[in-house]
């Protein structure tokens, strides 16, 4: 029982459950089956959190190596712009092959963006926060250039299915995110890759001396982060059926980093939790939905968010727990100190 309480993710999970409970009470349909697929506010939350899960997933890997990627929002804007541009040029916007080519091109561009970041960090040796700041500034300019400063609307059934379609009663966006999470967990926890990532994050020099290709692994994490951000950009732009190069993915890097930290990954690198990150991303999206559901005015939205963030971070801080909860059970705590020592 105490191990459950001691788990870092216990309090975030509890907060999530409470918020979902609030949603279950305020919305008239929490989860039902309609038109042959699942429907309701729970499904909406999960579907809406898909882009943030994807971005935060890539961010987790980058942070695990001790880096940070500020450019994810701009990469989202670029990938949405590329896809919508190619689709809007199609004769038949509903053609499946055309949409697939557009998606492929967008992912390729995102991979290139990630490769650029990775090269700057690992080969040129620029501090990650500045290296990715360059693409964060210039990338949105590129996206604006692609769309010529306008919002490109598309009327493509297959493309919008990315965000609003259903497969096997579940939203396709959620399935994409789940597949990405599954694949990442498999690769990092069932192979040595996760260990290598953590060792690079712990000390790049030491891991290079131990025979690990630290440079290659660092580049790879940025490439993966770019690809996931590109995928998130596609889902986000399919959701609004258009490419908005100015607001797409705006400030998502902060939300993604927040999700990563809520999930228990240290920003200094060397340790990461993918399940924690997913939990963090879902919490942030639930928070966004809950604020609307309980009728908090839009201006106070950020205030509410800051309160939850502070509560979450304090609940995970061992020092805070010791100060607050230590008072209630000072004696058993004193006994326990003796046992492991």
């Amino acid at each position: 029982m105490t191990t459950i309480f001691k788990n870092r993710l216990f309090w975030p999970a509890l907060i999530l459950v409470v918020m979902l409970g609030i949603n279950a009470f305020t919305s008239n349909q929490f989860i039902t089956i309609k038109d042959g697929h699942l429907f309701g506010s729970l499904i909406d939350i999960l579907r809406g959190s898909a882009p943030l899960i994807l971005v935060a997933l890539g961010m987790t890997l980058v942070i695990a190596t001790g880096g940070i990627d500020l450019s994810v929002g701009s990469v989202m804007a670029i990938s949405g712009a590329v896809a919508c541009l190619l689709i809007s040029d199609l004769d038949n916007q509903n053609s499946l092959s055309g949409v697939f080519i557009a998606i492929g091109a967008a992912i390729l561009v995102s991979l290139a963006a990630g490769l650029w970041n990775g090269t700057l960090v690992a080969v040129v040796g620029i501090q990650p926060i500045i290296a990715t700041l360059i693409l964060m500034v210039a990338g949105r300019g590129l996206a604006q250039l692609f769309t010529e400063g306008q919002i490109i609307n598309v009327q493509s059934g297959p493309y919008s299915a990315l965000a609003s379609g259903f497969f096997l009663t579940l939203p396709i966006a959620l399935l994409i995110a789940a597949a990405a999470v599954g694949l990442t967990v498999l690769l990092t926890r069932r192979t040595a890759l996760g260990l290598l990532l953590e060792s690079v994050g712990g000390s790049p020099t030491a891991s290079r001396l131990a025979g690990i290709g630290a440079r290659r692994i660092t580049i790879m994490t940025y490439v993966v982060a770019g690809a996931f951000a590109g995928l998130a950009g596609l889902i986000a732009s399919a959701d609004i059926k258009s490419a908005d190069s100015i607001s797409a993915g705006n400030l998502i890097e902060l939300d993604a980093i927040l999700a990563v930290v809520i999930g228990g990954t240290a920003l200094i690198g060397g340790r990461f939790s993918i399940i924690g990150t997913v939990l963090g991303a879902v919490i942030i999206q639930t928070l966004r939905v809950t604020v609307v559901a309980i009728g908090i005015p839009a201006e106070a939205n950020l205030l509410f968010k800051s309160v939850v963030v502070v509560a979450l971070c304090l609940s995970q801080s061992p020092e805070f727990r010791a100060k607050v909860f230590g008072r209630f059970k000072s004696r058993p705590a004193a006994e326990k100190v003796g046992v492991p020592a």
Binding site: Q127, I134, F304, S306, V309, C313, E319
Partner: protein, 341 residues
């Protein structure tokens, strides 16, 4: 104390017998990044002079200080935080909270001499609160100040989400006041305040016990603690200082634009961090100077000036050019620093 302080003593010892003939000027390693920045700044300025008419007018340089006064003040506060190994993301939001609060209070006919200290105190208090959470509860600075960002911007939006004009006489007078430096070279009081802030900060860092503590904590927080330095007090003090500088920046902003707006200073935190890093302040802490930050601010300002002189760029292209120039600058700085070592 820090490793950078040791180098001058041990440096000159072994060189002379090995190669007497090659007596190339080798600057102290701790000054290499700042000299590289200075050198590249001069290169950039000269290319501006070569390419654009009237670029050699002294008012171009003087206007750099006027146009970047807010960024300069904020970046000076950020330098202290980064030197201790922390980061402060809340500065942009504190600026917006200060401007909107100043405008609202002045509109409600509060005396300006009460408003000014009140908003400065509020900024310092926000900073102190963040510092306390970071120190006492060991929350990561990135997250604690991100919560501060949400809090301050949320509060600003709750006060008023529209732009509020300032009609107060004192604000107007300071805003309209011009200082004639030479024939045809005019500047504003806010530039003088910004320069004063740099001078005071440089003196504090170089010559006071507090300044030495800041470097010691950034070098290694644990050994600073073992040496008996007041780690907690200093950490809280640097965040307080950063909050105060951000509030001062907000006041300068409100003087310059004679208005307050809750979205003022959006993204300023990244500009400030970029300025510090360009100026050679290491994000890991313990190494860097306020002079470097000054040069970093001038670099970003000069990039913008060049864009203005170019004149025919749209929003997309100017973003891209800013990114490209930033990239070119950082890579060159990296090469220069690497060679010197």
């Amino acid at each position: 104390m820090t490793t950078t302080d040791m180098t001058p003593v041990t440096k000159g010892g072994e060189g002379p017998e090995l190669n007497k003939r090659r007596r190339v000027y080798k600057p102290n390693t701790k000054y290499v990044p700042i000299l590289a920045t200075l050198f590249l700044l001069i290169v950039m300025y000269s290319s501006g002079v070569a390419n654009y008419r009237n670029f050699d007018d002294p008012s171009v340089i003087v206007n750099l200080f006027r146009d970047n006064a807010v960024l300069l003040v904020v970046a000076v506060g950020m330098t202290f935080v980064i030197l201790t190994g922390g980061i402060d993301l809340s500065v942009g939001a504190v600026i917006s909270l200060t401007t909107i609060l100043t405008a609202t209070l002045l509109k409600a006919d509060w005396p300006p001499l009460v408003v000014l200290p009140a908003v400065l105190l509020l900024g310092a208090l926000i900073g102190a609160g963040q510092g306390a959470v970071i120190h006492f509860f060991k929350v990561e600075p990135f997250i604690a100040t991100l919560a501060g960002l949400f809090l301050a911007r949320g509060a600003a939006l709750t006060i008023n989400d529209e732009s509020v004009p300032i009609r107060d006489d004192m604000w107007r007078e300071i805003s309209d006041y011009r200082i004639v430096l030479a024939d045809g070279v005019v500047t504003k009081p806010i530039a003088i305040i910004a320069v004063l802030a740099v001078l005071v900060a440089a003196a504090v860092l170089a010559w006071t016990r507090f300044g030495r503590n800041v470097y010691a904590i950034g070098g290694n927080s644990d050994s600073a603690l073992l040496m008996g330095l007041p780690v907690g007090r200093t950490k809280i003090a640097v965040y307080t200082l950063s909050g105060f500088c951000a509030a001062l920046g907000g006041v300068l902003f409100s003087i310059n634009s004679t208005s307050g707006w809750a979205l003022q200073g959006n993204g300023m935190e990244l500009d400030a961090i970029a300025a510090c890093v360009i100026g050679g302040v290491l994000l890991t802490g313990g190494s860097g100077f306020v002079w470097g930050t000054l040069l970093g601010v001038l670099v970003t300002g000069l990039i913008r000036t060049i864009i203005n002189f170019q004149g025919d760029l749209n929003a997309a292209w100017s973003r891209i050019i800013i990114g490209v120039l930033l990239f070119a600058f950082i890579v060159m700085q990296r090469l220069v620093t690497r060679k010197a070592k």
